[in-house]
Symmetry: D2
């Protein structure tokens, strides 16, 4: 498989042990994600999905009752990182799940850009992240933050160190 | 005074009513900043400073005990916004403090970039933001996130709608 | 029509006078685009397309014969701007084409981010830009730079002042 | 010397062979930099400076006679890359100049952000770039594009792969 191709011809299906392990890391072990209430919904090598449910702690602009821009950037950074670990996992299906999970320890965000398109108001928000390129050292991701009705509210782009 | 000059020739000193009002907005009314524990230390028209004290909820990478990248992006977004409101305030010293404070209601982040240079580990972190340009509609800011010993850990750049 | 909806329900088809006028601005009047050899291929309110043909002047890394990163950023900045003017044009179909074209004079890039995913090597490159949100003052765009075989080489995000 | 400290205690002075070699690469061998007319003025391990002289080919917005945003992004990308090679050179003064120059072959831009603060109009422009962090694989840079009178016109941030 090409090192620069994040979309393998035969789609990889992760074992529960790996998917549950990743969910545990991103929902619980990363403490600040718990503060955000980040839920991981789907984990595939080329795309991960998640959700944030609105709660008062997440409010930014109290006059408009909308989510703080930092909740968006924090959640999309986390989703981009999750997408990287999932993509790396998809490349190392020959390794046992626990060994693949340990690759998370090398992950670090290099930089992040968030575009705030529309006010983030609603009962919950749907998040997606995909890896545009997975290299041996650096991965690039694209993220989206959508309203419950699917409207695109914010977009993100990130670069991550992966090894 | 030139509309594109954020550094007026005679330095403006804000009244306590305005500075305390801004601190109250950014430390308390913006609920998520309370979650971060963001403290506003200094408010001048061309530069604002703040601090984040480490606490377990802010942890991102549990293996390394370092601050979540989203704490950095959230805090620097908030500091950039504060810098904009301070710069706008400095241009409208002819208005009463309460009227100047209401200009906050128009503020919105257009986009944000964060560069993560070094692991954010420590007892507290010092934040600064300055406005590079204040236009009638858009302001551009530059932010820094430093360790207690002054080491530069992260930098940020933001664009804000201000009217 | 909603001010924040760049995709009107009934697709707008531009008159040749408007499309040719825009092409003339972006291919010829913007002198540096001529240096790049930027060709405008398609102009619709929600999406514009273009092409860059490889030539020696565009080389960046002489060891690898690949396109200079600045060619990518310049071309994607131009395409993002073109997408904004097209989107604005689609909202003002009640104005005569010449008047719509004059709206270009208000356009300015606020900021730009480019992600360089893969080496840009080839005989030509295909460019697209879409407006994610068109506000009354600011527009946000997303751009792509692809190889002749469709492979995604670079992505971009921009914010533009539009009035 | 610490791997993450771009400012060595004893300032490094490059030999003419290394500095001239780098200037030759960035002014001549990178063909598109020649199109821009990029001049390299100063090369130090922690800071590089350059200049662009105005010429008709660089015009973007013909109505305002100002420099194309892509000239700024291309020039600041180049300066950021030069800063990286200079910083790497400063860490390997034990290698002969020609060997240090070959490290350029590993350089690649990961991503770039440019903020356009003020219209770029003038007879020439002064450029600076500094490395905020030089890691073993990734370097982060900060760049500035100034008017002849020193006014800050644009800022940039870049991430580069360096090995």
């Amino acid at each position: 498989m090409s090192k620069t191709n994040a979309h393998p011809p035969h789609p990889v299906e992760f074992e529960p042990e790996f998917a549950d392990g990743l969910r545990d890391i991103f929902e619980d072990k990363i403490v600040f994600n718990r503060v955000l209430g980040l839920q991981v919904l789907g984990i595939k090598p080329d795309r991960v999905t998640g959700r944030i449910t609105m709660k008062p702690e997440l409010i930014g602009h109290f006059l408009h009752n909308r989510v703080h821009g930092g909740v968006v950037s924090a959640a999309l950074d986390a989703m981009g990182g999750l997408a990287c670990v999932a993509a790396i996992g998809g490349r190392h299906m020959d390794e046992p799940p626990q060994q693949r999970l340990q690759r998370f320890s090398k992950l670090g965000t290099i930089d992040l850009r968030i575009d705030y398109l529309r006010p983030c108001v609603g009962t919950h928000f749907d998040l997606t992240a995909e890896v545009l390129r997975l290299g041996s050292r650096v991965a690039n991701t694209r993220m989206e933050f959508r309203a419950a009705d699917g409207k695109l509210l914010c977009t993100g782009a990130g670069a991550y160190i992966v090894s």
